[in-house]
Structure formats: C-alpha cells, structure tokens
Amino acid sequence: MMASAVNFSGIVRRCFKLQSSCSLARNPSFQQQLYHRNNLPRLTTTIRNRFVHSNAVEQNTTQVPSPLEHDDYFGIKTLPTIVDLYKARVHFGHAQGNRNEHMKPYLFGCRMGIDIIDLDQSLVHMQLALNFLAHMAYRRAVILFVLQSSEHGHQVETAARDCGEYSHTRDWHSGLFTNAKFGEASSNRYPDVCVFLSTMSGSYQEHPAVAECAKVGIATIGVVDSNVNPSIVTYPIPGNDDSTASITHYLELFSRAISAGKMRREIDDLMAKQKKLQESSQENRTEGSSMK
C-alpha cells in the first residue's frame, strides 16, 4: 500500500487556522511556533504511523529551506510597524544645530528647527537588524546590550536579563575589548553581537564600544539619533534614543526577535532529533524484514 506523502506543513497550517481565533500573540508566525512547540510529539507520531506500512521510497516531505536561504525564517518582518514607531516617538530627532551630516540621508525633514527622522527608512533598517538578531540568537550567539544612560540603564539591564542575554550599562573602560585577554588561553569570550540602544556615551561623545567592536570584528546593531555618526555601525537603526517610550519599544522589539530565534532553535533541534529517531527505527525495521 502506497501511503501518500504527508504534507507536514499542511497539517500545521490547518491547526494554525484553529488557533488563529484566539489572540495569543500579535505575530501569526509566533502562534504557529507556539502550536508547533506544544504539539510536536503528537504530530510526529502521526507521521511515523502513516509511514509504518509503506514500501515506497520516503521523500523528504519537510521541505524546509535552510534558515539562511529563507527570506523571513522567524516571521520578523511584520514585527515593527510605522504606527508603533510613530507612537513610540522614534521620529523625533535633535535640534538642527546638533545634526551630524552623516544622518542627513535618514532625515524626513526639519520641522521648526527639530530634525524629523524618516520612519519609512527606520522601518527597513529595523527589519534588517531584527532579522539579523534573530538569526544570531538561533545560532546561540552571545548578545551584549550596551547603553550608557542613568535614566534607562536599569531598564536595559532588566530586559537583557529577561531574554537571557547580557548587558553593559555602566562606564566603559577603554580597552575592554581591544586590550583584553581573550582566546584559547583564557576562559573569556567576546560577545557575538553588540546592541546599542544609543551610540552616545553619557558625556556627549560617541560610545567607545562602537569603535572597539569594529576593531575587534564584533557585529553591532545601533540606534542612531540625528546627532550621531552611523558610519561604523553594522546595522544602524535611525531613531530617537532619548525618549523612554522609544527605548521601551526598542527593547520590546529586540527581546521578541531574540525569543523568536531561540524558540525556533529549540523546535528545529527537536525536529532533527525526532527525524533521527524515525530514520533509525525505519532502518531497524528494514533490517529485521531482510533478515527474515
């Protein structure tokens, strides 16, 4: 009896439609992942049972592209929206006299002497940065949140701790990265990504960590305000770095991206494990039948 190829993603999609009525999370892909995670053992048993009596060559029905080839592996593109950025006051830049000329392309204009950041561009940059962050979290990267601000430092520390990553919100001692004992001899390790909630340090100068990351080869994601030089930030996000509303919103977005990456990692590991068990049980079965 030829068992039809099981459309695994079809099963998930049908179940997702049932779930879509309740609003567990704003992001539909998040719901899918949640359902997937909660029902994985049940789903894979169904598949295995269907294949038990099949003599046909098993095709790879789970045609999941590799994460890097996928356009939006974590469903991150719908996470930031222009309305949310607008409500979080991300479009407010500094006064005209504080402008850094490198930020001119990212500005929508100047209203009554106050620079307004173009949120259409901010959205695109935010999507790129969040996608990168999710991919890094998927690959078990060490992520360091950096912000030197007495107002928001504690908030950043809490957010970093809550998503299981690290933060540095105190004074930066020069040479922390460039003059450190890293490598095989020591037990220390560089972070893989540095996320800057603001690339200015408390004393109106560029945060020294931005340059140190560039020297040492650590990728940086940085919120760049209109008074800042975005040149050496790997993934700049033009936006307001002074309002509490903005900082809260960025931390929310970054946390969700990291969670999406980590959750997907768990799911994919579980899938790989199940697949291995399935293959080994198939081998045992064929060996047993051939011996007979």
């Binding site: 309305v83 607008y86 504080n98 109106y204 509303a245």
Partner: protein, 160 residues
Amino acid sequence: MLSQLFKASRLCNSLQMIGPRCLNSFSTEAEGKIDQSNKETSVSQVNTKSFASLLRNSAFVGLGDVRKKRVSGVVFKTHGDDIYVDFGGKFHAVCPRPKIDGHKYVVGRNVVFLLLDFELSTRFMGSFKETTLLESEGKILYATEYLGFQVDRPERLRDI
C-alpha cells in the same frame, strides 16, 4: 516607572494640544460626553496611514512653533520641589512646584503645561555644533482633576 506608565495607559501619542481648537474637546471631556466610537475609528484609520500623513496630522505639526504653546502633560516623577513632566515630546521638562495647590502634583497627575523650549540646545562660542541639555523647558500652569492612566474611564471624568 515611566515605562510602566506607557504600557498601562498607552500615552505614546504625540503632543496633546490644549488650545482654542481643543478646548471644546476638553470641556466635553469634563462634562463626560466623550464619544468612544470616534476614538475607535480614528485608531483604525491611523493603522493604514503612511508616516507622511501621520506626521502631517500630528499635534506636533499642528502646534507650529512649539514655543509658548499650552500642551497637556503628565507628571512622571517628583523630587522634592522638582516636578518632571512628560508632554509627548522627545524630552521631558523639569519645573519647580507651583505655589498654588502644590500638593496636587503627584506622579500620574495630568497637568496643563506651557512649553517654552522643545529642546534646550544652544551654540557656544568657538563651537560649530550646539550643546544640548537633553531636556525641554516649560512652566506648569495648573493640574487637571484626573490622573493620566484613568483618562479612558468616562465614569471617572463625570466626577469633575
């Protein structure tokens, strides 16, 4: 504290204007005649708009020259006689406690605020760039009777 206020009351809108145009809505709020359906339709319209139209229709642009305009704000911190007011701009303002009804200015209180400067930033001699204080400047005019995060409850507003 401020981040919690945002999450609770969704104060993340641009500047709320108190002026000749808005005094009507202010008085209808005081009489408890808020039309809730209007609020909902405006939110759904906002979701489909572009940034250019959001900005064009924002209270910030509507104010024109931001100096010497009355705006509504909320007190988010007090330290002795220093009152920190957030009026929906980029920065907050720190004002001295008013002599009249000083006890009313507690965290969460809505105030009517005279904005003097959106950002305290000037150029000093010998420098090409301006130096910013990362603050706004303004003066508290008076406190309103309700607390910021209870604005959406019309029953509360009828008590005025």
